[in-house]
């Protein structure tokens, strides 16, 4: 009937336009995320710089900085962890693990984490020690067979989302002989429950080493953890033993296997491959010696130059952990991420043929449906953290594969709100968040985005693209970002009309404020490292010293006296120490049009985009 067709067409077109908005919202989130990873390079090189130039501010023992940054201790060696010496108080009501672990231990962990309890540091350390011992025995590539097991379940990135992990276990069953699992990396960072997620995974690994398999991801790396939240989470939840725990995590991460192969036919790695990937070579390397991080992979613990073989180890592992598939043929450096490659369908084809494989399963990229096929079905991306960018932004998924080696997909979405949102509402909400995040980026670079005289839309878009290095449809977004003047040129200041800094300090020039705002993530990380006793305070002296180094490294021209003024003014109670949470507050961007509630929410969600 004609009427029906008309209505269907109208509705579908409306959906198409909504879809377009959803896509550019997605674009925004993803671009900002990857650009952040690029900034990671900046931070890593700063750390190297600090190591060379930093004199110990108080001479008591080794700095956390050197411990965290210097790949000094070979992860293979046993650290002195005296977890036995750590007393567990009577009042502690959390799980008390006994090793070797049994099902009652893992069940206790599940209940405890559901009840928001934290595992005591003593057990965390013991668990990590045992995990380390186990991993040392494992090869770089795990080989699995479907003939001994039922279907194997393969999960992608979890990023500290405990709810998603629990949902998977609920829908699919706990790990067991009947339900073997492969978790494909990126268990930590970004989400708020990274510790709980990774403890559960390691616990099941210890309980069922034959049915639980883990691959390393690019976030199983201490430098990534510094930036993306895992280090912070550990320090906050374990104030007394955080550092020891982090050291052990560092060891354990570097000992994780890098690939899994099922029936000699399906290859599973976290990122992807390159034209240099060779599985035999990959099997032979000493994986604990390679860093998952782009920057430190060029250093050796004794600072001697790397041999060619060692360099090859590092590039190989970088490719495995960081690469992304592309539609065009060939293999090119992944400049967007700053590490690994973009690999085309011909590269995939070649590798699969070379090793008699038929499928590559990888993760590393968030997909709206939780999974995506490419390269003619030869590559599957699987991603298991639902609502990754925003509530309702994407589903999570896992794959089940049986003897016939045909993958089946299972999708889910954790929903925190019981109120059902329409697609329109979800798109609008996500769009709002994305645009806010984008505007903050613009705000933090506003001195670089200045024009003399009137500027056309094209010019404006061009400058934005080159300054922010974000791959976005700027002209399409323009109406959301800035107004047009009556003559058709862009009123670029209108973009910042509804934004201002949190607290205005009279001594702070706008130049300084902007620089501090732009690098606030990095500054926070550095503060966390310097604040050895986790008091939330650092001395004015430490602040000045660090800031001078940082700005020297960045080549930012900030007057020394401006820094001194700043330090003094931040020291609100004049006792020689700075509460850096308060300090960072000053450089948070406030969106004036938000209601009070939204501002509070903005504060908590701010971490999401970092």
């Amino acid at each position: 009937m004609k009427a029906a067709v008309l209505i269907q067409r109208w509705y579908r077109r409306y959906m198409a336009r909504l879809e377009m908005r959803r896509r550019y919202t997605w674009n925004i989130f993803q671009s900002i995320e990857y650009a952040g990873e690029q900034d990671q390079l900046q931070l890593s090189s700063f750390f190297s710089f600090m190591l060379d130039n930093f004199t110990q501010l108080n001479g008591n023992g080794p700095d956390l900085i050197s411990q965290l940054l210097d790949p000094v201790v070979d992860p293979w060696l046993d650290r002195e962890t005296c977890y036995n010496m750590i007393p567990v108080p009577e009042l502690y009501t959390g799980p008390r693990l006994s090793f070797p672990l049994s099902v009652s231990d893992t069940n206790a962990l599940l209940s405890a984490f559901k009840e928001q309890q934290t595992l005591h540091a003593r057990y965390v350390l013991q668990l990590l020690c045992e995990t380390k011992k186990l991993l040392k025995q494992m090869p770089n590539i795990t080989h699995l067979s479907t003939s001994y097991t039922n279907e194997i379940t393969i999960c992608g990135d979890l990023h500290g989302r405990l709810d998603d992990l629990l949902l998977i276990f609920y829908k699919n069953g706990l790990p067991s002989a009947e339900t073997p699992y492969v978790f494909n990396g990126d268990f930590v960072d970004r989400g708020k429950k990274s510790i709980e997620v990774v403890i559960l995974l390691f616990a099941y690994l210890l309980l069922y080493p034959d049915y639980m398999h883990l691959n390393r991801g690019n976030h199983e790396d201490h430098i990534m953890n510094l930036r993306y939240g895992f280090t912070k989470e550990v320090m906050q939840k374990h104030k007394a033993h955080g550092r020891e725990i982090l050291q052990l995590f560092q060891d354990v991460f570097s000992l994780l296997p890098v690939a899994t192969v099922i029936d000699g036919k399906i290859l599973i790695v976290h990122g992807g491959i390159s034209d240099q990937t060779d599985l035999d070579f990959l099997s032979s390397i000493e994986r604990h010696k390679v860093s998952g991080n782009k920057q430190t992979s060029n250093q050796r613990s004794d600072s001697s130059p790397q041999t060619l073989t060692e360099q090859m180890y590092n590039f190989t592992s970088l490719d495995i952990l960081w690469s992304d598939p592309k539609t065009q043929k060939g293999c090119s450096p992944n400049t967007f991420r700053g590490g690994g490659c973009y690999f085309g369908p011909d590269i995939t084809q070649r590798l699969l043929l070379q090793h008699g494989l038929q499928l590559l399963i990888r993760s590393h990229e968030c997909k709206q449906e939780g999974y995506e096929l490419c390269h003619g079905g030869q590559v599957i991306t699987i991603f298991s953290a639902s609502n990754y960018y925003e509530e309702g932004s994407n589903r999570g998924a896992y794959i089940k594969v049986g003897r016939e080696l045909v993958p089946r997909f299972y999708q889910y979405q954790v929903s925190r709100t019981t109120r059902k949102l329409t697609l329109t509402q979800r798109v609008r909400a996500a769009e709002g968040s994305a645009l806010k995040a984008l505007k903050e980026k613009l705000f933090s670079h506003r001195s670089d985005i200045s024009f003399s005289g009137s500027v056309s839309v094209s010019e404006w878009a061009q400058v934005l693209e080159s300054v922010l290095r974000l791959d976005l449809p700027w002209r399409t977004l323009r109406p959301h970002l800035a107004r047009l003047a009556p003559d058709g040129s862009v009123d670029y200041q209108s973009c910042f009309e509804d934004m201002e800094s949190g607290i205005s300090l009279p001594q702070v020039t706008s130049n300084l404020a902007e620089t501090l705002f732009r690098y606030r993530t990095d500054i926070e990380i550095i503060f966390n490292i310097i604040d050895k006793d986790h008091s939330g305070l650092i001395s004015v002296e430490e602040f000045r010293h660090t800031w001078r180094l940082f700005s020297a490294h960045l080549g930012v021209d900030i007057d020394d006296s401006a820094i001194d003024d700043l330090a003094r003014s931040i020291d609100f109670n004049k006792d020689g120490s700075i509460d850096f949470t308060e300090f960072l507050e000053a450089f948070r961007v406030v969106h004036k049009l938000d209601s009070k509630d939204q501002q509070l929410n903005g504060k908590m969600d701010g971490d999401k985009y970092l």
Partner: protein, 162 residues
């Protein structure tokens, strides 16, 4: 005879002008290429309302071999055809209203979810169950669970954000 050919040519020339104008707005290097990311906006600005699939197909036709760019040379003929054939016309509100009224046989001013479902999933370009569920969630009044189509038409047709 000469007159009608002239007017046909004039029409085509007009269409070409429109397309070129819309195109130029996004051609920032002034080399007759635009970023493929902006093509949806250009097409909508020309008054066309393709579905996502239509958009995909059109882009596949005109994109320069995955370079991420679309050249005017390819876009112009393809888009001209779209406009001359009225391929993805917008649906005028009154026509839409009439369509709903046809379905609303009892002239109640609203449709019940079951009624709408029946038509959408059984007639015309049939909806999938998922599409139907989504449509009901989007269009049905939350409290009364009825589709008040009159209000919806004005709400949804005017998309203030684009």
């Amino acid at each position: 005879m000469a007159d009608s050919t002239q007017s046909a040519e004039a029409i085509v020339s007009d269409v070409h002008k429109k397309i070129k104008a819309a195109f130029e707005a996004f051609d920032y290097e002034s080399n007759n290429t635009v970023d493929v990311r902006e093509i949806g906006t250009i097409i909508y600005s020309l008054g066309c309302f393709p579905t996502q699939a239509n958009l995909h197909d059109l882009i596949a036709e005109v994109e320069e071999d995955h370079t991420g760019y679309i050249h005017l040379d390819k876009f112009l003929p393809a888009m001209t055809k779209v406009l001359l054939d009225h391929k993805f016309p917008s649906i005028p509100e009154d026509l839409l209203l009439q369509a709903f009224e046809v379905l609303d046989k009892e002239k109640k001013g609203y449709l019940e979810p079951e009624e709408l479902t029946k038509y959408m999933t059984q007639e015309g370009e049939v909806f999938t169950q998922e599409e139907m569920d989504e449509m009901l969630t989007a269009l049905a009044d939350h409290e009364k669970n009825l589709v008040y189509y009159k209000d919806l038409i004005s709400q949804l047709t005017i998309d203030p954000d684009m």
